[in-house]
């Protein structure tokens, strides 16, 4: 028996009240794709489930006041098939499209993906590349903070899902010179964890022949989604050319320090980031925009 009581919360307020009432014995359930597996293998237990899947306002993709807002219970399928995201935020649409299988994407949510705090969660990597803010509500009131501050360790999130609720993720509305891409290396295309995944966001300069700003997130390279800050700094102000991209890949190779794991050796993962950094930029800007 996985739980004793199962509630469908009707509102955000009710979610908080239920969690508070059960004082740590109740846990938020969204798609259940992580939780049901954790219950099966006894990694986790909870007496009371608070299902947030029926709270309408948590399920949305919208642009408002210069920001994009993605509701926490939006499924990976909804994100991957959103024409708006496909057009303006490739990194997110194609990032979540790589998750698991159609069945997993039909159930799994972006909020659960982040709350699960895996260093190579595809949704988290994409949101870190977008510089997203995580918005939620805790017993002390609403909060919003940079998404990166929520990741503490593999599987360990600064957010307590027995007391706090993620409501949405926000990031700046698309600019005309913004580009992004998601690249991933895995054993198979479906139902395979990434050996390496990378989210990239770029803002081109006004001439569109160079890079004004960049954000790069890579997994699994550290205990949390890794920001390639040295490469980002190098790309800021750089002109787009094959030589520059080769040099950028070299920098990324140097700044990551992955570990040997069942997914692949550290040396192999380092080689991967070198190759994929360049591929990601080419995918984001289009091969023709890059000079020799």
């Amino acid at each position: 028996m996985y739980w004793e009581k199962y509630y469908f919360a009707q509102s955000i307020e009710e979610t908080l009240e239920l969690l508070k009432h059960y004082e740590g014995d109740a846990r938020i359930m969204a798609g259940g794709t992580d939780l049901m597996v954790q219950f099966k293998y006894n990694y986790l237990s909870a007496k009371v489930m608070v299902d947030i899947g029926r709270i309408k306002e948590l399920n949305h993709i919208r642009q408002e006041n210069g920001h994009v807002s993605i509701g926490a219970t939006t499924t990976h399928t909804a994100l991957a098939t959103s024409p708006y995201l496909q057009k303006h935020f490739q990194v997110l649409a194609s990032g979540v499209r790589t998750i698991g299988s159609p069945q997993i994407r039909n159930a799994g949510t972006i909020g659960g993906n982040v709350a699960n705090a895996q260093p190579a969660a595809d949704g988290s990597i994409a949101l870190v590349a977008l510089g997203a803010t995580i918005c939620g509500i805790s017993p002390d009131g609403p909060f919003s903070r940079p998404i990166e501050s929520t990741f503490l360790n593999p599987g360990e999130c600064a957010l307590n899902s027995t007391a706090e609720l993620i409501t949405s993720f926000t990031f700046p509305a698309p600019g005309p010179r913004d580009r992004s891409a998601f690249v991933r290396h895995s054993r198979r295309a479906a139902l395979a964890l990434p050996i390496m995944n990378m989210g990239l966001w770029l803002r081109l300069n006004e001439e569109e022949d160079g890079i004004e700003d960049a954000r790069i997130a890579i997994g699994p390279m550290a205990r949390v989604p890794f920001r390639a800050k040295k490469t980002e700094a190098f790309l800021r102000g750089a002109k787009l050319s094959e030589a520059v991209l080769d040099e950028a890949g070299e920098l990324t190779f140097e700044e990551v320090s992955p570990r040997d794991s069942f997914r692949g050796s550290a040396a192999y993962k380092k080689e991967l980031v070198r190759v994929y950094l360049k591929r990601a930029v080419l995918e984001a800007v289009g091969e023709r925009s890059v000079g020799k």
């Binding site: 509630y7 259940g32 049901m36 159609p102 997993i104």
Partner: protein
């Protein structure tokens, strides 16, 4: 003011759930902590959904849930409340009755060997075909749609052929590509 023990929420944990399963309405008592898969198999006698892995990896437990395919091993049974669910049993009256065109096509193409994956495969194929009634269907699209359903016997080719044969609008039959 609330006293300390006063319950401040109006939600109630349900004692029973009501749903439509294979075109029939059911109301059943809640068994706390139950998976949808167990409710279907153990309480409602439907052995079509199978347990392969119990962890979302194989798709043998696939059901159609409000029009989309889900792994019933990962769905709390409570969530069935208010839902419309189809299992393989809901597609036809069995071998004696009229088979669903997708089932018939699986037979015609020799796409079934041990049969363990077949209910899930057919249901994922149904959802895919329902969503692509006017889109030209290609083999890579079918492979992607069935990528959450594993088969240890057939090598997939005949399954893909069986689904392709059912597509109302067919794209390039030769198109291959990585999924």
């Amino acid at each position: 003011m609330c006293t300390q023990n006063e319950i401040m929420f109006t939600a109630e944990a349900k004692e029973s759930i009501t749903f439509t399963l294979n075109n029939k309405e059911y109301t059943v008592p809640v068994v706390p902590g139950e998976r949808l898969l167990d409710m279907l198999r153990n309480r409602l006698g439907l052995s079509g959904p199978k347990e392969g892995c119990g962890a979302g990896e194989c798709g043998a437990c696939t059901v159609i849930f409000n029009g989309i395919n889900l792994n019933s091993c990962l769905i709390p049974a409570e969530r069935a409340d208010g839902a419309v669910i189809t299992t393989i049993e809901g597609l036809s009256e069995g071998i004696e009755g009229d088979l669903d065109p997708v089932q018939q096509s699986f037979l015609d193409h020799g796409a079934v060997q041990c049969g363990y994956c077949t209910p899930g495969m057919v249901l994922s194929a149904k959802v895919f075909l329902d969503h692509n009634k006017s889109t030209p269907v290609t083999r890579p699209m079918i492979k992607e749609a069935l990528s959450g359903n594993l088969c240890r016997c057939t090598g997939y080719q005949k399954i893909v052929d069986a689904v392709y044969a059912c597509a109302p609008v067919k794209g390039d039959p030769e198109e291959e590509g990585e999924v």
